[in-house]
Amino acid sequence: MKEKYIQIVGIALTAVYGVFVVFLYAAEPRSLEELTAKAVETVQNAATKGQVITGTYEIDKAKFSEGIAAFRQENYPLARDAFAKSDPERRDANAQFYIAYSFYRQGWGRVTNDDVMFRQALEALERVNFIDKDFRSGDADLKLRTPAELKNELEEGLRVTADDFNPLKVLRERK
């Protein structure tokens, strides 16, 4: 084999082995079994990042459908988990809007709201605004279809006003 071919083989081997060593210290697997699992996870993450860079990123539609089904059954933690898995890079406005909405619905209470859930909903809404400022949901089941409406509802829920002590408030409906 010519000198330059041996040099190319050497460079390639060193680069691959070097990347493997760096991966080991970054992933810190605790056993040989975990090493395989972490390698698969890293490859998947790299593939998703590659899709984002090349502009071919798409959500996992099967997971998204699972999320919608769970959302309709009012199983909001499961729905959020499915939405999060369908959009690991948090780049789909629709999935992020459903996550925000699931926080709102789970946190809504006839007498008092769960402030922690409402704040998480606001965080998810910020992501929606960041991804698509003109986002509008096409889901007829949702009464608040835009981030602005949902944000207003959430902020109203977080604010303490004299209206909160109105006994008729228990008659209001979740949107």
């Binding site: 000198e3 041996i6 040099q7 460079i11 060193t14 680069a15 493997f20 810190e28 697997p29 056993s31």
Partner: protein, 248 residues
């Protein structure tokens, strides 16, 4: 003219024709001698660009590997910044003592590919040196600072000393040997085993427990010492195989 003639080596023998074009056979005193300079050169290239980087990267992989004393899990300890500084000083020492001749590894007259390939070898050497220091310096606590200071003192003095490759290797051998004994024999034996309750540790071996807590010694399995012995040995083997220059 006479001086020039003396430099040539005269082979007195009969040339023999063979099918294999890679080899030249010479009949000398009825014995056939096989001369294959190309194979020799090829082996040197394999050694330089394939085997040596693999040896150094194996050291880089193993140098930070510890085995947990509690459940035998892998623990990958990333090198502290000081290890990178020590590795850089070590490479300067190699250059000063002609263990590595800089202009024999990198030159404008070399093809770019050769310079790049040599760069990868040196990068692998740097990674291995970093991890050897990571291996030999205690991970944390007071002992980390004491041993790191001793390393720094020795390397810093060597930086200004007038010495050759042999003296450097003797100095490094002594330094690495002492550090290995200090960490993996003395400190490892002073460390209390993991997985015992506070009360058990105090009842069974209060001395070890006190030293472990006082010096903040990590509780690794005994297998760690074996792995690190192998890693340091591989590093020294890599240095032995490393040529001082790649140009003819």
């Amino acid at each position: 003219m006479n001086d020039a003639l003396k430099k040539f080596e005269v082979v007195d023998g009969e040339l023999v024709e063979v099918d294999d074009e890679d080899h030249l056979l010479i009949r000398d005193n009825s014995e056939l001698q096989r001369v294959a300079p190309e194979i020799h050169e090829r082996n040197i290239l394999y050694l330089r660009y394939v085997i040596i980087p693999i040896v150094f990267l194996t050291v880089a992989m193993l140098g930070g590997l510890r085995i947990s004393g509690l459940d035998g899990a892998f623990v990958f300890v990333r090198p502290a910044l000081i290890c990178l500084i020590f590795a850089a000083i070590l490479l300067i020492l190699f250059a000063r003592s002609k263990v590595l001749e800089t202009n024999g590894w990198f030159s404008e007259s070399f093809p770019m590919l050769k310079n790049v390939a040599n760069g990868f070898v040196i990068a692998a050497l740097f990674a291995a040196a970093t991890q050897v220091f990571n291996s030999l310096i205690p991970e944390q606590g007071l002992m980390f600072w004491i041993v790191a200071f001793c390393f720094f003192w020795t390397l810093w003095n060597n930086l200004f000393a007038d010495f050759d490759a042999q003296k450097l290797f003797r100095s490094l051998g002594a330094l690495f040997g002492l550090a290995f004994v200090a960490k993996y024999l003395i400190l490892a034996n002073l460390t209390a085993p993991a997985g015992r309750t506070w009360l058990e540790a105090l009842m069974e071996n209060p001395g070890q427990e006190a030293v472990t807590r006082l010096l903040d010694l990590p509780r690794f399995s005994g297998a760690t010492g074996y792995i690190q012995f192998f890693a340091v040995g591989l590093f020294l083997l890599g240095l032995y195989l490393l040529p001082s220059r790649t140009s003819d």
